[in-house]
């Protein structure tokens, strides 16, 4: 579920250091349980124990906004499933099939019959409608209002048929429908009890593999298997998620057998690999780390569009608006060494904005920029940035974007408390300074950094995206519409009418077929690669360490535990 609705900045503060899609509750592809007929069926019983760095806040899918909470509430059924390996949307959850209108605006979903909440009530279209109407209600204070912004209406045709009408065609609009459904029969029809319902801390019913049992705050949450789960009763008795804030304490607990699974830090990999009782699942995560280059003058942030949607000419940044300088930067970072030493090998080189995890839209033919200091120096010389006074820092001598004599001095920021980014900052500073930049690097408080980013008053920033999800659309990073100082996420003030057009075409392709959309995203990737609004440092690789006393674990990039109901103890 999380993967569908989830897209946010890698905050990377101490508490959210490692977000792994351990528990994406999007269970998929139920193979009819024929194994039961075999003479020796899977062993019944046992408890699967996970460790989480942070406690959840609230067990209500429309009020929560942190991944720890979503991990702790795999009780709420969803409309659509995701293939755990490919990320494609599939009819593996409550929607058994669907039809789309000619203009792709009206979607009619046929729901799976016979699915019930654990108290016997049917899971039906009313639950779906109730959930989305609740988000829109004035009585409900939630940041998830954007999920319903593009929806024109939701009609219940009958108990098992629901029709969603979107106001505009958006090929990623289905992702907005990914939130878990609330059991509407337990709430007041006017949404008045949602905010302070006791169900927010103790969900009474479940329609998934596990049901809520007990939650001791900051300590653990215990869940019991739901024998009435429509995909088949789980073999295990239940699962527990323990809250262990310290990464090294989590590893110690994994080695002691106190927990069965955890997201691994790169420093822990070798040790886990040497342990015969533990397995590692390595996957290309849906995120990347980059250095954002603000192409507009930080002293004078301007919106990308005026009220009529026309492009607004930006006040260019005296250094970073020069494409040659950006290209020189791209050539002067030793990506290989950075990935090996800072990320301890847990990353991969990246050429542009669409990740290989979104296979159909990723253009693998684009080569990442090579580490080439000579080429970088030549570019800077050519662009008119030379060191005329011999102090090791280049100045503008006939450059295109700044006045003569301006030094190549830039400020680089990142959020404090994330040691990987702090190390990266030190390296980038060191490497850029070696070819004549004068980089000042500082790690500042996350809230302050966010203010400067959105306010567009920074010059260069080390940050990352995570949870980009299964759709290649990332218009909020590039489209000039989102270059709005103070709130928009195109905070590098990137402006390219062709990219704007391509992003719109990709999102509004009639029929939304992958093969029709792919060419647009290929072209976007090439342009972003050439124009370098970001220096793409590395794509994220996730590592999950888990105990081998369980069998049947078949992890995929998009979900680790999609078939958890089939897992069983080996002895």
């Amino acid at each position: 579920m999380k993967r569908l609705a989830w897209r946010r900045l890698l905050a990377g503060a101490t508490l959210v250091a490692f977000v792994v899609p351990l528990l994406a509750a999007c269970t998929t592809v139920a193979v009819p349980v024929e194994t039961e007929a075999a003479p020796a069926g899977p062993i019944q019983g046992g408890t699967w124990t996970e460790a989480s760095s942070a406690d959840g806040t609230i067990l209500n899918p429309i009020l929560a906004s942190d991944s720890a909470s979503f991990d702790m509430m795999p009780y709420f059924p969803g409309l659509l499933g995701t293939n755990p390996k490919t990320g494609a949307i599939e009819a593996t959850e409550l929607a058994e099939s669907w039809t789309v209108s000619e203009d792709s605006l009206v979607w009619t979903f046929n729901l799976r019959p016979g699915v019930t909440w654990s108290d016997g009530e049917a899971v039906d279209a009313h639950d779906f409608k109730f959930t989305y109407d609740a988000i829109a209600s004035e009585l409900v204070e939630t940041p998830r209002k954007a999920n319903v912004a593009g929806i024109d209406s939701i009609e219940v045709i009958d108990d098992l048929t629901v029709r969603v009408t979107f106001s505009d065609l958006k090929c990623d609009g289905l992702l907005d429908l990914g939130l878990g459904w609330l059991p509407s029969h337990l709430y007041a029809g006017d949404f008045s009890d949602i905010m302070d319902s006791p169900l927010n801390t103790a969900p009474a019913v479940t329609a998934e593999a596990f049901g809520f049992k007990e939650w001791q705050r900051d300590n653990f949450i215990a869940m019991e298997s739901n024998d009435g789960f429509w995909k088949g009763a789980p073999n295990m008795d239940g699962q527990i998620i323990r809250v262990i804030p310290q990464a090294s304490s989590r590893l110690a607990a994994l080695e002691n057998g106190e927990i069965d699974v955890m997201g691994l830090e790169p420093t822990q990999l070798t040790r886990v690999g040497l342990n015969p009782d533990l397995n590692i699942f390595k996957f290309k995560d849906d995120g990347y780390s980059y250095i954002g280059l603000n192409q507009a003058n930080p002293a004078n942030p301007l919106p990308g569009q005026d009220e009529d949607g026309n492009l607004v000419a930006q006040d260019p940044h005296p250094i970073l608006s020069d494409p040659m300088v950006r290209k020189a930067m791209a050539h002067s970072l030793d990506y290989e060494a950075i990935i090996n030493k800072v990320y301890l090998g847990q990353g991969y080189k990246l050429a542009s904005n669409v990740l290989p995890a979104v296979g159909w839209a990723h253009d693998a033919s684009i080569e990442p920029y090579a580490y080439d200091l000579e080429a970088a120096a030549a570019l800077l010389d050519e662009a008119g940035w030379t060191d005329s006074d011999g102090d090791g820092v280049r100045e503008c001598n006939g450059c295109a974007t700044a006045e003569a004599g301006v030094t190549l001095s830039l400020n680089l920021k990142t959020n404090a408390g994330n040691s990987t980014r702090e190390e990266l900052g030190v390296l980038v500073q060191d490497q850029l300074n070696s070819i004549g930049f004068d980089i000042e690097f500082e790690a500042i408080e996350f809230g302050t950094l966010v203010g400067e980013l959105l306010g567009q008053t920074y010059e260069m920033v080390i940050i990352g995206w995570t949870g980009l999800g299964t759709d290649p659309n990332d218009d909020s990073f590039w489209h000039s519409r989102f270059d709005t100082p103070g709130s928009g996420f195109n905070f590098v003030s990137y402006q390219n009418p062709r990219v704007d057009e391509l992003l719109e075409l990709g999102l509004e392709t009639p029929g939304c077929a992958a093969e029709d959309r792919a060419p647009y995203y290929y072209e976007i990737q090439q342009i972003i690669h050439d124009e370098i609004p970001y220096l793409f440092v590395t794509g994220s690789i996730g590592n999950v360490g888990y105990s081998n006393r369980w069998e049947g674990i078949d992890p995929g990039t998009w979900s680790f535990s999609w078939n958890i109901h089939e897992w069983a103890l080996t002895e």
Binding site: A5, R7, R8, L9, A13, L15, T47, A54, T57, I58, S65, D66, E138, L139, E141, P143, R144, K145, A146, A149, M195, D196, N200, T201, Q216, R217, D218, N219, F220, A222, E224, D237, G238, I240, R242, V243, I244, P245, Q246, S248, S249, A252, A253, E255, N256, E258, E445, F446, G447, T448, V450, G451, D474, S476, F477, T484, G486, S487, G488, F489
Partner: protein, 354 residues
């Protein structure tokens, strides 16, 4: 005595108000607010964020938010009764003054710490759910501190100037000088990872059908309480030593010694009793010490106490929760100091409370 206690309680009110004002301002002036921290997400539009802020009342000036937190009464310019009614008990528009006054209910003055922004639960409930763990650890630490600090200090004084005295001094100061998180990590590494004797963290072994087991609880308590009590033991050892030495030099003891009072009787009847008197004053500072140290210990040993709750709330800027915790801690400390003073007066008849 009663009058004294009442007066002390009354004196606590301005102190607590001062703390609340200072705390509220510091949280609100800080960069980044709750809404920004939870919605820094490209899929959430600027409008949705503003709407969320307006619903929470976070678009108002800080003094108005403070009054709202303190009294549960909100003030808005213009006639906004209709917009406010769904969130309030009662609203009234004062046409002549041009503002709307709403009673949202709650507020600190009505003995209500409000609701957490992140969990929508009452702040008091959230604090209460962490109290058993916090108090368990705190109580064990206090017991350990007295159990080790008093005898060590006494021995130290008894053998004053000797190698034993110096050894105890060095050991206790050393306990105070180790960074607690380092000590904690090393303890886990040695006793849980290398030796496998003790659990890594947590308050109990967790399973689906948990039964209370004292042995299990104690096993989980050993490492965190040991590390957390180090500083306290050092502090108390030093205090007891000083007290005992002071008592020994008192005239009546010289007299007692001169009279030939046997040394055991002397130590137990006179020295011990009189040296114990000031221990009553340690309670206040001891509570502060436990609160100070608890956060780090809770983090390292995965102990589900109040320190982590407050800290996490601070990271999220969940200000009702932070304020609730700060108010609770302050009240607890003031109470600790008060009990210390009363105990002191009860034990030592020479002291009069006024």
């Amino acid at each position: 005595m009663t009058r004294y206690i009442i007066r002390r309680f009354l004196q606590a009110i301005p102190t607590l108000l001062g703390i609340s004002l200072l705390g509220f301002t510091l949280i609100k002036v800080a960069p980044g607010d709750y809404v920004l921290m939870t919605t820094f997400d490209p899929s959430i539009t600027a409008e949705a964020r503003d709407e969320f802020r307006r619903q929470l009342g976070h678009d108002q000036p800080i003094p108005i938010q403070y009054v709202e937190w303190l009294t549960g009464v909100s003030l808005r310019g213009g006639d906004v009764v209709d917009a406010m009614v769904p969130m309030s008990n009662s609203c009234h528009y004062f046409g002549s003054l041009g503002f709307t006054l709403c009673d949202r209910g709650g507020g600190l003055l009505r003995w209500d710490l409000g609701y957490s922004l992140a969990t929508k639960e009452p702040v008091w409930d959230m604090l209460r759910s962490r109290m058993p763990a916090s108090f368990e650890l705190g109580a064990v630490v206090l017991v350990l501190v007295f159990l080790f600090g008093v005898p060590l200090g006494f021995l130290s004084a008894l053998f004053r100037g000797s190698a034993k005295d110096q050894g105890i001094r060095l050991l206790s100061v050393a306990g105070q000088a180790v960074p607690s998180f380092w000590m904690g990590l090393i303890c886990i590494f040695v006793f849980s990872v290398l030796l496998g004797w003790l659990p890594v963290g947590g308050r109990m072994t967790i399973s689906l059908d948990m039964k209370f087991s004292l042995v299990d609880r104690i096993r989980h308590l050993i490492l965190p309480s040991f590390v957390l009590s180090l500083a306290g033991v050092a502090f108390l050892t030093k205090l007891v030593r000083t007290q005992v030495l002071e008592v020994i030099e008192q005239d009546y003891l010289r007299t007692a010694r001169a009279k030939g009072l046997g040394s055991l009787a002397l130590w137990t009847r006179h020295v011990l009793r009189n040296a114990m008197l000031p221990l009553a004053t340690v309670l206040g500072p001891a509570i502060v010490g436990v609160i100070n140290g608890a956060l780090v210990i809770e983090t390292i040993f995965a102990w589900p106490g109040m320190g982590r709750l407050t800290w996490f709330s601070a990271l999220q800027r969940d200000y009702p929760m932070i304020m609730g915790a700060v108010m609770f801690y302050s009240a607890l400390t003031i109470l600790g100091y008060l009990i210390s003073d009363i105990l002191y007066a009860v034990i030592d008849p020479r002291i009069r409370l006024q």
